[in-house]
Symmetry: C2
Subunit: 109 residues, 2 copies
């Protein structure tokens, strides 16, 4: 199992909409995440910096393939037309990233 | 169980020291966390913004009391003399906070 932490900005005028969307995330989107072996997925918001931090546990053995299946899913792509305009990717993200991956520096079971 | 997400800054000149400390965290400190019902605790680092994001799952029923037991523990207090000088609390943190708590806006089991 691989723990993954990611960060992205949120537009201040989109905070309410982002919360509303995620309080009622589409079941099809959740199902696709689960099929891609993503578990225990949380998103936290820090205001007023408007930073979103996400954490999940990846239980598969080919994350690139599982992420590609998510990105190809028509329902997820449609979901992202709602969520992407809320978010502001960090300028320091790596090539190919939208949410920027972070480095795990500590873990205690 | 309560999922908690927190954020704090890290001084750029202390990144290496912070990683080194957390690669070999004192067993007494880990034991005190476990006794205070903290589980599945991870810290992630985003460079070059030098933000630390922590995530844990609190399994007790009185977090204030458990946090107080941690803050009174002599070994933990001594540990913090090493880690506190590495960190820069966010100016927007709430009264009484060092790490700033975040709001959970999404969760998928």
């Amino acid at each position: 199992m691989q723990r993954m932490g990611m960060v992205i900005g949120l537009k201040p005028e989109k905070v309410a909409e982002y919360k509303r969307l995620h309080a009622d995330t589409w079941p099809s989107v959740l199902e696709r995440l689960t099929k891609s072996h993503i578990r225990n997925y949380s998103i936290f918001l820090k205001e007023p910096e408007n930073l979103l931090f996400s954490y999940w546990e990846y239980h598969g053995d080919d994350f690139a393939a599982d992420a590609a299946r998510i990105a190809e899913d028509p329902e997820t792509v449609r979901w992202w037309t709602h969520t992407d305009p809320c978010q502001v990717p960090l300028s320091t993200r790596k090539d190919g990233e939208f949410w920027a991956r972070m480095e795990e520096v500590f873990h205690l079971d």
